[in-house]
Symmetry: C2
Subunit: 522 residues, 2 copies
């Protein structure tokens, strides 16, 4: 546990290829040195627990990952830094051979995944990576980093949008987001999840997301008084006039905005909106609406912000707050009430020394924490316009669920006693996993975030609305095929047998050791 | 509220100068067009509520902000994108004159701040920005984005380190962090806050932070069995041998690690450590320690990870868990239990048309939410080796607190009835705000994160330990000087008088309007 090499100057020219956990690189060297690196492996990414007390996530972040992967190459400074790292005894951590290999390495694997904006459920494969063991292992951290966060925020955004109904939702969380790119990727994911626009200019430029914004309290404070500040603003932006009214006193501010509105009308424009950013939004929005209507500004919209999330929006709407546009910042961009999605990446199959594919599971005493073996896909069963259930199946060992059977059985991955039997009459079966990268090369067209956003919004309409409830949401049947369930049970039993045998052997050895080496120390 | 220009192609060449809220740019154009842009202004950043139920924060993120500022220039593609944005009527949002100005604009202001690694308290100025109104306004979002998050994580890290005592703490939250840079800046801030090393290779390279890591479960699963996997690993890394023992069965894994340890000793090395990543860490670490000791591996360290934070570490230590190294991931890198710090940036003074400096406050009915006027600094009072209190004072209107007075009074910014009177006998007074940038140019030497980290660790020892308690921490006296308190009260009274007068005037006008324009609509 001694300290590794520290260079206080830093290596400023290092690339994002190094944005990973050190152990990915030590393992890669291990695979390289033991000759395992070329064995074909299959990994998959999934999550176990849906965030925010819900039942689902909206997948997002894939394209950001693929972009990273396509640029993923170790530059000379990356290699220089890695060669500076040492083990406990001061000898280099990485061998010259390995670093030499790494310097010309590019990702050679294939990636299949659910498209961004797809609604998916616990244990379902979100991303599948197939390729040489070294390649499919070394990308783990970045895949999880990009997918976990964007999926989390897209999911949060979909909930906020569900709460807002037909109202507009703006995302403006940049000032509380987790760094520059925490903000940029939050804006991207929030848009995929369904929000209408962002305040983040760079997200607008890079991804083509609509951007919004007018002025802050400091604009008002820079003038001698509020009427002056409003007058100056509408002169400059007669067609972008959302006035923030709560710098001093909110209803006084509304009256000043109404004055400005009269002036806007004389100029041939109109008062687009007012914004409330503090206080009791239910009370103030009602009073503001009353004042606006009384003075003939019935078309002026009320924008509200101030620590909003899906629950507060639901509460305000149930109180009849006449708010038209919801500005959601911190709670969305940081996924405040649950700021991490625990998506994981597990080995599901690997080639053995005879070139045969051997399936693997990560064991756990709880069924919920065991991973699934094979090359997984999701079949989504549809009854009319509504999804009836998802079946996770292993393409290596079974055929996709078939409507020529009378019924299809779905078995909970967490509790084998929970099963759903779905009659196949009038059922259609779609598959969710699509190819993205083949042998390191991108396949197919690059999607815009607008297409992904439409997928989310239309996807939501294809489920029973009860699964999206905030309180005690309905459980959508998503689980294992009968075959996959049985296959996993066999593998678990087999693995536990091995452990049992080893434990009893060990117990004997252990006793011997105890007797032969009492108090032995180094 | 119509949609602004959307370009689905995106502008990939846009720069981080655009990583801001749109309203900063619309306001900047407003200041430019009204001629206010050159007025000298003073803004300051502060926070109101300490995170995690604590009483303090560890300031961090300043250098990241200054780095951004020094590169901050709008490139041709930034300008091209901005010129594509339109208002509601389809006309350009930004004028050619303004965009032309922006394309050659560079930050001209001065920045003073508390150095990174300084422990500070609510309402204290963390960063002070002085300069032309346009310059000091346009940087707000990025300043808050970078400082809020890094300060939050540095604070969390300091708590984790306090819980771990003399034990080592490793940060490895990248896979759950908020995007690439959410991870990179979390590693930087966690190190400033006191952790010993990170798994994030890029953070190691860029900032000179020690990096750590060995292998994951997938390494074990890539082999036919655990003993084989361990044997391969120690052959490759005899001096970096921390073996993850819980892939199948933890205590079985410990026994396999002990076998590997015997082999390491034959090779002239030793078993550095084992890592536990699941299950009951109190029970498993005790059992593992017993096994290791029984077999003579008393020097082998136990590394534990799995959703740890300062409270869980405290609990495990109180149970006597023999863990030597704490790996903290998600809970630290996302500041899981409170993932946003609500730091704000407020105008405190501005030049009027006669060239005089006029102080400003942002009003609120609650004292706690009103901002402070002037050009603020912090005086830290020290009695022997221990800090006795902080005084926030306004350098424009008063002298620093002086030990030639008999006592110094500190008044709570949130509740004027709470005061602390500190005798000046044997008191020394230090000032916390130091110059960073003058007229757009960096002053003084660039600090390494190692220096900032030392500042945190030694800074903590200069306070009564009771303020760092996790439950009901002691309140450290940090508040306003008598003069600043009185000055703010006068300003508040004055502003409320103005509002009162306007409200009664408005009320009359309002009635007139109601009568003259019943039901008027556009």
């Amino acid at each position: 546990m001694s300290e590794k090499a520290v260079n206080t100057e830093g290596y400023p020219g290092t690339s994002r290829a190094l944005a990973t956990d050190l152990y990915q690189l030590t393992m890669a060297q291990g695979y390289f040195s033991t000759g395992l690196s070329e064995r074909q492996a299959i990994f998959y990414m999934f999550y176990r627990t849906p965030p925010f007390g819900g039942r689902y996530v909206v997948a997002a972040g894939l394209q950001s990952f693929v972009d990273w992967l396509e640029q993923h190459a170790y530059n000379a400074e990356d290699i220089k830094y890695l060669s500076s790292l040492t083990g406990r005894d001061g000898s280099p951590l990485f061998t010259k051979d390995f670093l030499n290999y790494l310097s010309s390495w590019r990702f050679r694997g294939s990636i299949e995944a659910v498209p961004e904006g797809t609604i998916i459920f616990p244990h379902e494969p979100m991303v599948r990576v197939r390729g040489p063991l070294l390649d499919s292992q070394i990308i783990e951290t970045t895949l999880l980093n990009l997918m976990n966060f964007q999926t989390l925020v897209a999911t949060k955004a979909s909930r906020v949008k569900l709460a807002a109904g037909e109202d507009e939702v703006l995302e403006f969380g940049l000032r509380r987001a987790h760094g520059y790119d925490g903000g940029l990727s939050a804006s991207r994911a929030a848009y995929i999840g369904g929000v209408d626009a962002t305040s983040n200019v760079l997200a607008g430029a890079r991804f083509g997301i609509p951007v919004r914004g007018t002025h802050a309290h400091s604009w008002v404070m820079a003038f001698d008084n509020e009427p002056q500040a409003f007058a100056a603003y509408i002169d400059l932006f007669p067609h972008n006039s959302v006035l923030l009214v709560d710098t001093f006193n909110t209803l006084d501010g509304v009256r000043n905005a109404i004055e400005a509105g009269h002036r806007l009308r004389q100029m041939g424009s109109d008062l687009m909106g007012i914004r409330l950013d503090s206080g009791d939004l239910a009370y103030l929005s009602s009073q503001a609406r009353k004042l606006l209507d009384e003075h003939g500004f019935t078309g002026t919209r009320i924008v509200a912000s101030n620590d909003l999330d899906e629950r507060l929006i639901t509460s305000l709407k149930s109180q009849g707050a006449p708010i038209n546009t919801w500005g959601v910042g911190t709670k969305l961009a940081t996924a405040f009430d649950e700021p991490a999605l625990g998506g994981v990446y597990k080995l599901a199959a690997i080639e053995n020394r005879n070139g045969e594919t051997v399936e693997r599971i990560k064991l756990s005493e709880q069924a919920a924490k065991s991973s699934l073996p094979g090359c997984l896909d999701i079949a989504r069963l549809k009854q009319g316009d509504i999804n009836a259930g998802d079946v996770i199946f292993d393409t290596l060992t079974e055929k996709p669920p078939c409507t020529s059977e009378k019924v299809i059985t779905i078995i909970s991955p967490e509790d084998p006693w929970r099963r759903k039997i779905i009659p196949t009459k009038n059922l259609s079966v779609g598959r969710l996993i699509v190819p993205i990268l083949e042998g390191g090369r991108r396949i197919g067209e690059r999607e815009s975030v607008a297409v992904m956003r439409k997928r989310t919004l239309s996807g939501i309409r294809e489920f029973d609305r009860a699964i999206f409830r905030f309180e005690n949401p309905h459980v959508y049947p998503a689980g294992l095929s009968q075959d996959l369930h049985e296959h996993r049970e066999e593998m678990r039993t087999h693995e536990f047998e091995i452990i049992k045998r080893r434990l009893s052997e060990m117990e004997n050895n252990g006793h011997n050791n105890n007797n032969s080496e009492p108090g032995a120390d180094k």
